[in-house]
Point group: C2
Chain length 87, copies 2
């Protein structure tokens, strides 16, 4: 029997990688009058619904998905949260 | 005196809006052999560092930033978490 899981994946640029889009958004915010903004970093937020044997299996699959397709491990870090869907 | 805050902003497409990029990523994952993947939705994750008078002020500013620049309220929802930076 398989179980369904919701997961939230957060992908961020590694701190050493220059975030030009983030810098542009920061200037935009400052020009709109938000003088308090000091830094902006832009990443991706991905929601994945998947079915798996159990939580450990879902965790393992998701980690591989991030590594293979969702994130670029050369320049990005990823983290995710996984929770079973109540049915 | 101002205080510094870290915030994490999550921007997601409204459920009624078709997510073509998400659908493409879902097919990609299925072709890689992840048959359990049932749905993928792609959003943005933005980290903003800002200084403000207090938490309520930071909250108010961030809500306006999302509405004015970070998200497109016509097709996107946003949510954020705010925490003071320990110094």
């Amino acid at each position: 029997m398989t179980q369904k899981f919701n997961s939230r994946v957060y992908i961020t640029l590694r701190p050493s990688v220059l975030d030009t889009a983030g810098t542009a958004v920061m200037s935009g915010l400052q020009q709109l009058g938000y003088q308090g903004v000091e830094n902006v970093r832009i990443g991706k937020y991905i929601e994945v619904t998947l079915s798996a044997e159990n939580q450990a299996d879902a965790d393992k699959q998701l980690d591989k998905m991030c590594d293979q397709l969702l994130a670029n491990p050369v320049i990005e870090n990823y983290a995710f949260e996984l929770s079973p869907v109540e049915e």
